[in-house]
Symmetry: C2
Subunit: 195 residues, 2 copies
DNA sequence: TCGCTTTGTCAACACTCGTTGGCCTACACT
DNA sequence: AGTGTAGGCCAACGAGTGTTGACAAAGCGA
């Protein structure tokens, strides 16, 4: 009989694997790619640095797993058309505060090319298609996606990364109140007000 | 009489000092703080790494000099009141493309605390006061500054750092056309449209 | 000319990094 | 009992880092 073990992967403890991945995400989120050392991640996970290498072959592989992300965008066709801007702001605020994967992406994306590529693919594969579905016009969707993303990323940068005091102090309602109309315009305005 | 020479002799060291500083700015702008090594900077300046230490005592001191920056904000009271938004967008685009100091700040500010503090001080000491002068109301100025900054930084992040293809492809006129009204509202709208 | 400061080079130190291989322990199965 | 194996720890390697001190030219005032 073919006792040949077809087992694709050596069985390893899923629990510690998850622990390491979580610790890695936190470190990457706080320190960025270079300063988040394998040793620090291992210490957080209360484990030997060599274990990190056993579970994930290299720091780079570990990083690419830690940075997997799904925006879980809402279905804009289901919200009143004059509230899509506010809905988007609210959704992104939730995303930023629920998880630290977005912090990882932003902290590392500015210096690490793999993370930057990941962000590019998120824009192209998640945000833009959703806008196509909402507006029905594929041509301008990439531009609208970038506009929306720029405002959302910029505010997240100021509030969660740079921690500019006024940005931190603003309430959720204030942010939605200010940014909502902006996104509303980026999402719905027909074309450039060429003036 | 004052035989004391008031003019310091132009030493040759001033030239190399400037060369080093320029090379440092470029490296910091491209690679961020950690990956921009003293050795790489010295190689760019065609000089020995030890020289960098002699001229600037440490990497940290060199960095804090490389990151000095003046936004050179325009006098908004001199432009037509319905064009302040577009004027600001144009000015920031000029700033981003003329120099790479802003790239240094953004690339390093997300992981290096000194750079983040510098950005905070730029907001508080340059942007906010200028908005106070424009609007005449000191209370909301910090909020307006953060809103303007978030949109401008976000677009710069997408265009110059992450290099999202649609953001790179957009023309200057398109960016001004889309972001101008946004900044216009952030700068002039009386208060939150509480709805 | 001699001396002294400046400008630069070279080699090395002490340290941290990612990564590797060897060894130990626990335990399931026969 | 013995054996195999997976999970984990330890010490070390090689490379790269910021930083330092000794030493060689080069300029310049006397």
């Amino acid at each position: 009989m073919d006792q040949r073990t077809p087992l694709p992967k050596p069985r390893r403890s899923d629990a510690t694997r998850a622990t390491i991945l979580q610790a890695a995400r936190q470190r990457f989120a706080m320190d960025g790619y270079e300063r988040a050392t394998i040793r620090a991640i291992a210490a957080d996970a209360r484990i030997d640095p060599a274990m990190v290498m056993r579970y994930f072959e290299s720091k780079e592989k570990l990083f690419s797993l830690a940075v997997e992300f799904d925006l879980r965008l809402p279905d804009l066709t289901a919200v009143p058309r004059d509230q899509v801007g506010a809905a988007m702001v609210g959704h992104f605020l939730d995303m930023w505060e629920a998880d630290d994967t977005l912090q990882v992406l932003l902290r590392t994306g500015v210096t690490n090319d793999a993370a930057a590529e990941r962000m590019r693919s998120i824009f192209a594969a998640q945000l833009a298609p959703m806008i196509v579905e909402f507006t029905g016009e594929p041509a301008l969707a990439p531009n609208r996606a970038v506009l929306v993303g720029s405002q959302v990323l910029g505010m997240a940068l100021c509030r969660y990364i740079l921690k500019l005091p006024p940005a931190v102090a603003m309430s959720r309602e204030e942010i939605v109140g200010w940014l909502g109309p902006t996104l509303q315009r980026y999402l719905t305005e027909k074309a450039l007000s060429s003036r």
